[in-house]
């Protein structure tokens, strides 16, 4: 369904992405994981049609992506900047629905359904900033779902919420994904998160970025924060990616910085 073909991106002489190839099948949940600073956000912006690649191309159903396609919805890491603080929750979720030939009632239904699917009924009239971080990111998810995309692109969406909220949001995302049968491309720097969520994990190397490997995750579904993470297969995959990323110079640098 989505093919990334020899994609590269340079800024002047600086090569951010050297070459990236991967494909995603309809209905798949694919995570992209890599060391910080490896150009994950740049890659996602190219896929989303927000940034023109320097080389290669992105194909959606065989069509080259040249501008943001109608079939994709993007969830940003920073909900406080991607949600509009002057609009109510309802208006934020409904903003992309105008100009699509939908009646007011149809728009309200879409907004209501989307908010219900992320458990935010009753918060329609609140402003985003009146809600907790986790709830704000759920508003952003609802906006993406109301848009009725085929592919959900997520850029480290849970990186700025606390650990408890984060696992709740992961499980919420998995249940929404199963129910709506959409495709998800999820960028993260968190190895555990990528293994827990994905059907396949695309492991990126350091800059200039290439694909290190694509790892299938055979863990059974539905997944569970306790039992899935207890399985030896989870530990094996986690350790495998961990070594792959720490092997890279940037991973080592990050390790040294943390130490």
């Amino acid at each position: 369904m989505l093919t990334v073909e020899g994609l590269s991106k340079s800024y002047g002489d600086m090569v951010a992405i050297a070459r990236i190839d991967f494909t995603i099948e309809a209905g798949e949940f694919v995570c992209i994981v890599g060391p910080s600073g490896c150009g994950k956000t740049t890659l996602l912006k190219c896929v989303a049609g927000l940034l023109a690649p320097s080389g290669g191309r992105v194909l959606l159903h065989g069509q080259e992506v040249l501008k943001p396609p109608r079939q994709m919805a993007l969830v940003f890491q920073d909900y406080s900047r991607s949600l509009l603080p002057w609009m109510s929750v309802q208006a934020n979720v409904g903003l992309p629905l105008h100009g699509r030939g939908l009646s007011g009632a149809e728009q309200r239904t879409l907004v209501g359904d989307a908010l219900a699917s992320v458990g935010l009924e009753g918060f329609e009239r609140h402003y985003p900033w009146q809600l907790s971080g986790g709830m704000q990111q759920r508003v952003a998810m609802a906006r993406a779902l109301a848009y009725q995309p085929e592919i959900l692109l997520m850029d480290e969406p849970f990186a700025s919420v606390d650990a408890q909220t984060r696992s709740d949001l992961e499980d919420l995302l998995l249940s929404v994904w199963r129910r709506l049968r959409i495709t998800v491309l999820f960028v993260t720097h968190d190895i555990d998160e990528s293994v827990y969520l994905a059907d396949r994990v695309v492991v990126l190397g350091p800059r200039p970025t290439t694909v290190d490997e694509v790892l299938p995750v055979g863990l059974p579904r539905p997944r569970d924060q306790v039992t899935t993470k207890e399985q030896s297969e989870f530990a094996r995959l986690r350790a495998h990616i961990y070594k792959a990323i720490k092997r890279t110079p940037l991973g080592r640098a990050a390790e040294q910085k943390e130490a």
């Binding site: 109608r70 509009l84 402003y127």
Partner: protein, 264 residues
């Protein structure tokens, strides 16, 4: 907290009252022709502005100021949004804009008289020419400062151009636009008065100058007091509008500060 608020409120009411009382007392036996007793000024104010001179002087003044300020707001905001969106244009226009802005607006009056004569259009032009700059420059800044993530969001969700401008760009720039609107309002009042003093046959500015020339000193003071009250009221109205329109901004900022103080 509540007690402090009561103290503030009391002071806010008491200090002006005390000042008026002090003026009244000290000027009560004044024999100076230039500083007449406040009672005389109040009498003159009542005669002139309740409401004999309202249709002949106050109304034309307000109409000129309203027209000039209104035109400046519309042109300033719409032009500012366009210029702010095109970095190249705003870069290139930067120095000339700063120069034109640095020209003291009253100096345009002679030019405006040549072009427009001494009628209303001259005065409206001078007001527009003076108070458009803070609005224009603040709007440009505001639009340039919009969060890139918001622009990406708007683009990736295919928000239509009209809605992008009205629901994303304009509100995002509004906090800055309002500081331009506040600065422009006081400039508009100043230019309204000056243009009426230089060349006019009516208006509050004309009234004050005419009263001075005919030694109607209490009347002159009454015009000055009217202008002070007018400026105060207009500022207050703008502040109310800003509070209502930017209510989200205060809440948003408070939530951001709270997030910094206590990291999730």
């Amino acid at each position: 907290m509540a007690r402090r608020r009561i103290v503030y409120l009391t002071l806010e009411i008491a200090v002006p009252l005390l000042a008026i009382a002090a003026w009244w007392w000290t000027s009560n036996n004044s024999t100076s022709p230039y500083f007449p007793p406040l009672s005389d000024i109040v009498q003159a104010f009542r005669d002139a502005w309740l409401f004999r001179h309202v249709p002949t002087d106050a109304a034309p003044s307000l109409a000129r100021m309203g027209a000039g300020y209104g035109i400046a707001v519309v042109i300033g905001i719409s032009l500012g949004m366009v210029l702010g969106l095109v970095p190249l244009i705003s870069r290139a226009l930067g120095p000339p804009l700063e120069f034109v802005r640095a020209v003291p607006p009253p100096v345009l009056i002679p030019v405006a008289i040549l072009v427009f004569g001494i009628g209303n259009s001259m005065k409206v032009f001078v007001i527009v020419a003076g108070c458009i700059w803070p609005i224009l420059l603040n709007t440009i800044d505001g639009v340039r400062g919009v969060e890139p993530t918001m622009l990406d969001m708007s683009r990736s969700y295919g928000v239509s151009r009209a809605r992008h401008w009205s629901r994303v760009l304009l509100p995002a720039a509004l906090p800055q636009v309002f500081s331009g609107l506040r600065a422009a309002l006081s400039i508009a009042l100043i230019l309204m008065v000056i243009s009426e003093m230089v060349a006019s046959t009516n208006g509050i500015g004309f009234y004050v100058l005419d009263a001075q020339r005919t030694f109607a000193i209490p009347e002159m003071w009454s015009g000055i007091i009217l202008l002070g009250g007018l400026g105060y009221t207009l500022n207050w109205l703008l502040m109310i509008a800003e509070r209502r329109i930017l209510r989200w901004h205060r809440g948003f900022r408070a939530s951001q500060l709270a997030a910094i103080a206590e990291p999730r």
